[in-house]
């Protein structure tokens, strides 16, 4: 066998292995997706949306409390995290630019984006839960804000930098003050990108469980008071899934399904936005 023949055979083997590993990897992932859809659809019913939590064994048991809690915790985090992140990102792109300070903030934010979220939970426990004396929806939101901030900051920074500088210069040439140039020209030019960043960022924090475990904690009943412990889909899912009761486990799958669909939709919408923008 010549060397070249050998190379061709090795090539075939490696390519087969690669295709195989792709199949295995993709197979696993679709397996998870299939289970999610199958169990989720099976568990989904009107009671899931209309009823609060109930002890195991009760027919009328749902996720209303967790859905509302989740929306409130994530909503409040978005309300604070997004504007703050956008303003900070604006500083990096429009004022700090390549300065030492801006670069340091970028680096630290990048690292924070991959830092373990459970540690953020511990931090918020120390600064919010301990002084208050009890768990609260606020504490959960604060933990999520800390996770959301660097994500929004970095995407805003990136997206603003994509706006061509000639656009800014043209606006400055008309005598506009900097804040107006930023608000009216730069933000407008980066709108789709920033929106995508927000959607992906919110999707990311909406799936966070670990930082909520000991901040917003949990509640099996509906509560809309942010100063009280609050249910979230993720923590409820965790508690129900690890419980020994089959009906609770089933409700856990419903929570998993609802949450995943929500997060996947945000991701898909975000991608479409960016895609549409590129297409233009």
């Amino acid at each position: 066998m010549t060397h070249t023949q050998k190379r061709i055979i090795i090539n075939k083997i490696v390519m087969t292995l690669s295709t195989l590993s792709a199949l295995i990897g993709i197979g696993f992932l679709f397996w998870i997706l299939a289970i999610l859809i199958f169990n989720g659809m099976d568990a989904l019913s009107w009671t899931i949306f209309s009823q609060e939590g109930a002890p195991p064994g009760y027919e009328e048991s749902g996720l209303k409390h967790a859905l509302i809690g989740q929306l409130m915790i994530v909503g409040v985090a978005t309300l604070f995290g997004v504007p703050l992140g956008i303003l900070a990102g604006t500083y990096l792109s429009e004022y700090g630019q390549k300065s030492h300070l801006a670069e340091t903030i970028r680096d630290i934010s990048d690292i924070m984006m991959s830092a373990p979220s459970i540690v953020i939970g511990a931090f918020v426990y120390a600064i919010v839960v301990t002084p208050m004396g009890h768990f609260s929806g606020w504490a959960g939101s604060i933990a999520l804000i800390i996770i959301l901030l660097p994500i929004i900051l970095r995407t805003t920074d990136d997206m603003l930098q994509l706006v061509p500088s000639t656009l800014r210069e043209a606006a400055f040439a008309l005598g506009a003050p900097k804040y107006k140039v930023i608000m009216q020209v730069v933000y407008r030019g980066a709108k789709a990108g920033i929106l995508t960043g927000i959607l992906l960022g919110v999707a990311r924090v909406a799936g966070e469980t670990a930082p909520l475990l000991f901040t917003s904690f949990n509640d099996n009943f509906l509560s809309t008071d942010m100063t009280d412990p609050m249910a979230s889909l993720t923590v409820t899912m965790y508690n129900y899934a690890t419980s020994p009761y089959e009906d609770w486990q089933k409700i856990g799958w419903a929570a998993a399904f609802i949450l995943s669909m929500f997060i996947l939709s945000l991701n898909i919408i975000g991608r479409l936005l960016l895609f549409k923008k590129k297409g233009r």
């Binding site: 292995l17 690669s18 696993f28 992932l29 998870i32 500083y91 459970i118 970095r154 900097k178 949450l259």
Partner: protein, 286 residues
Amino acid sequence: MSVIIDKIFSFATKYIAIAILFLVAWIFTVLFQHSLDAMEAFGFDFITETKWAPNLEKFGALPAIYGSIVSTFLAMLLAVPLAIGVAIFLSELAPAKLKSPVGVSIELLAAIPSVIYGMWGLFYFVPIVRDVFGGIGISMLTAGIVLSIMILPFMAAVTRDAMNTTPDILKESAYALGGTKWDIIKDIVIPYAKAGIIGSFILALGRAIGETMAVTFVMGNVHQISTNLTAPATSIPVTLANEFTEADTSLYYSSLFELSLILLVISFTIISIAKFYFLRNKRLAS
């Protein structure tokens, strides 16, 4: 008027940005302060002591550290070859019609929250591990496998992106010398994208070691150091998730805070290595 608004705007954006740095410093400080009790009580022994017995007020972090390292190592061992395989498939092998749908599905799967992977692991993977490898199924091995599946989409996507940065013309030059696809991948694409690929793997490692929900379901939170991979174990995040709300003494709390601090320092270090040595000038994928 404009001038004043302009000043306020630039001032506000600047100090919010700087606040991020203070926030990070504050996190470290708070974790450190709350760890002081445990540090005073155990000193350096905290990380070498193997016994974790809250009822005896004895806290040794070694089983959790050991579990974090071993489960992450197992996860990388399984995920790295799979990720490379998937990346090669996506960047060099897949027909154009498959490339983008499969690629996008992988990216979307990377967005699915880890709690779902953990739940899947508990209900579907624990029984398989129990039947195939023995034990009760809740184990270090299960944690490693579930963790590897969880980081696979992220790793495959970034590895593919790194491979895709290889200029076509460079690959064509090697084909023009009579190379096979594999020759081109191993001699051109991988060396060209090396820094990006290694950086992404280390980044994935940094994320895996701090991952909580994917492993909490399937690890068991048993503070023991066992070479038997089918035995239950624990890791730092698993300990935190299970015990934080149960801690009833200040020493217990403090020990959990010290665990948090250790975890934060470890992942900060790993992520920094990825970022500063390998991914300089590259944006970390979110």
